[in-house]
């Protein structure tokens, strides 16, 4: 079910009850509707500020990256003018001894985590009901586990994925040991290399 990220409050303008002592009801309803409209405008401006703030932060991070790139390009431009093919000595041994180039492959990690949660979603989370205080029963348990974890455990999926990964590495290690002990002489001839993809986090598993 999609969540509504930003909700303008109050949703209904004219649904309040008219007080008993009022004689001109139509005017009363009009005035209360106009007051609700002003509250809606306030809520709208708060959401607009939040939207522009998020866009500004992202654009700012790009600005910093671009500045960094500009400095690197300037340094490179200076360095390239200083290159001289006549002075540079190249020995055949050195060419093979040089470290091979490897680009830095930085992967984004923990993209959907507590730190990257947007502000309206944090507010929605805090407006929600808290779970029942089952953790007060934890001291009375014999196995010393947290009683609330039996009701709701936010780290459940991560622990499940972690156990799967540990199990997978353990299985691979046992497989390698078995292969070494069974045929040490022919382990690299004619045996098809089966590449097993590591189990991905259950949050991203495809549904068949």
């Amino acid at each position: 079910m999609p969540l509504v990220k930003r909700r303008i409050e109050p949703r209904h303008l004219c649904r309040g009850a008219v007080p008993d002592e009022v004689t001109s009801e139509l005017e009363c309803v009009t005035n209360s509707t106009l007051a609700a409209i002003i509250k809606q405008l306030g809520s709208l401006s708060r959401h607009a500020e939040d939207i522009f703030g998020e866009l500004f932060n992202e654009a700012n991070s790009f600005y910093m990256r671009m500045n960094n790139l500009q400095e690197r390009v300037d340094l490179l431009a200076v360095k390239v003018t200083q290159l001289d093919s006549t002075v540079e000595e190249v020995s055949l041994q050195d060419i093979n001894m040089r470290k091979a180039f490897k680009s830095s492959t930085i992967q984004d990690q923990q993209v959907v985590s507590r730190t990257s949660i947007p502000n309206p979603v944090v507010e929605m989370y805090h407006r929600g009901d808290k779970p029942p205080p089952l953790n007060i029963l934890s001291p009375y348990r014999d196995d010393k586990k947290d009683a609330l974890k039996f009701y709701t455990d936010p780290s459940y999926f991560f622990m499940l994925w972690r156990e799967k990964m540990l199990q997978a590495t353990e299985d691979k290690r046992k497989e390698k040991r078995r292969q070494k002990t069974s045929c040490p002489a022919h382990c690299d001839q004619g045996r098809p290399h089966t590449r097993q993809a590591p189990p991905r986090s259950p949050l991203f598993s495809s549904e068949n």
């Binding site: 303008i8 303008l13 001109s24 139509l26 009009t30 509707t33 106009l34 409209i37 809606q40 405008l41 709208l44 959401h47 607009a48 939207i51 866009l55 992202e58 654009a59 790009f62 990256r65 671009m66 790139l69 690197r72 390009v73 490179l76 360095k79 390239v80 290159l83 050195d94 001894m97 040089r98 470290k99 180039f101 680009s103 830095s104």
Partner: protein
Amino acid sequence: MAGQDDPVQREIHQDWANREYIEVITSSIKKIADFLNSFDMSCRSRLATLNEKLTALERRIEYIEARVTKGETLT
């Protein structure tokens, strides 16, 4: 018209005018909300394109830097 002198009828006319005024304001609020949503989406898509170009540039600069600088030896 004779009906205009009736205070109740006058009040009802005034109420209709007020409701039309409120309707104009609420539809403007909805238009502003729609504009904000579409502006947000369009900005995010442009920023994502910019991010892709920046990442490609960064990788190219890294490669050129490696080509130009004297690399360290393995020993």
